[in-house]
Amino acid sequence: MTRYHGMLFAVLGLVLLSFIIVLPPAQSQSIASHADFNGAWGPYRGGRGADTKLTPPPASPPALKPQYAKQYEARRAAEAEANSRGEPLPNASSSCIPYGVPSMMSVAVYPIEIIQTTKQITIIAEAFSEVRRIYIGKPQMRIDDVPPGYYGRSVGRWEGDTLVIDTVGIKESVQYQRMPHSDRMHIIERMRLVAPDILQDQITIEDPVMLEKPYTYTLAYRRMPDYEMVEFVCDNNREYVDDKGVVRLRVREK
């Protein structure tokens, strides 16, 4: 080996060493091996200035089995009728009850924040400060072994640059757009960057009890590099349900 080769190897060695020293292990593996989802993301739903190639396709209505479809349509019709009278019907959020999975991923105009490490991806929704944890590389549990809740149990795996998330254990009262589901519901999400600063989450709800076929819809988010998440504690909820079951606003006398 010549002196030139020796110097070359020494320089290469130093460069490699600097990478190992500079980045903490979890983050270096996460960013080097996979897409980087870290940071705050705001909804990207189209409208003025949006790139229609990156906005999500319109969602179709869910294909519920006939007996459940009838119930679902009746509830939606009752809700629309109540709104037209100015007497909205209560839902979970009128009592400040959190949305859970998957609704928390698309609440009005509120951002989400993603914290990504090798072993866990944590998603914090600004609205109601909801938190879900996705365990990377862990096997999913049987549905019957997961206590039903708002967020269930989520595990994830990387398929190239797509994060595939599997969630079970969402309790039946936690509904997306008032859509009923059984305790067999299974949610699969495919999350990927479709542009450097645009993230899409394709959400598929499987429910062999209530759905004729899996229901899929897609959300998109834009990266908000400088955004600082705002706290959201629901401590001044003035909505209440009167004795007729109508949501009212509590006003003060003075």
Binding site: A82, N83, Y110, F232, V247, L249, V251, E253
Partner: protein
């Protein structure tokens, strides 16, 4: 149809995937009322902020109103700050009143003591004179 309803409808109809926090159906968005009075409280809270205001009529009789705003996060996106109002400030608010006749409403726009005019929606900034309704988010 007012811009508030248009915005709410637009957000929902783009993909049908956004979750509304609560219906604005309790407010009569076909009507607007202007109130000028004295702030008794400005509550920078979730799920909504509120302006509490004492409003005197022509005879000097004071009636109290509760005015609902968006959440702090959404208000900040339209230029509000948590110290923009305080007890004793004079303020003028344009609201869509409650349909049930109680003395409450949804903010359309507010004129602050320093002359700034603020709306009630994300990225909408101060309401412009040409605008009749600053709009609010579907939340």
């Amino acid at each position: 149809m007012c811009r508030l309803t248009i915005l709410a409808t637009a957000i929902l109809s783009l993909t049908g995937t956004a979750i509304a926090h609560h219906s604005f159906a309790m407010f009569d968005q076909t009507k607007q009322t202007t109130l000028t009075g004295t702030v008794t409280a400005f509550e920078w809270t979730n799920p909504h902020a509120y302006i509490e205001i004492d409003v005197p009529d022509e005879k000097g009789t004071v009636k109290h109103w509760s005015v609902e705003l968006g959440s702090p996060s959404i208000l900040m996106q339209s230029g509000w700050k948590f110290k923009d109002l305080k007890h004793g400030d004079k303020v003028t608010v344009r609201i869509s009143p409650l349909k049930d006749g109680k003395s409450g409403g949804l903010l359309v726009q507010a004129t602050l003591p320093d002359g700034r005019v603020l709306g009630n929606g994300p990225g909408r900034g101060p309401a412009q004179p040409a605008s009749t309704n600053a709009g609010a988010p579907n939340q």
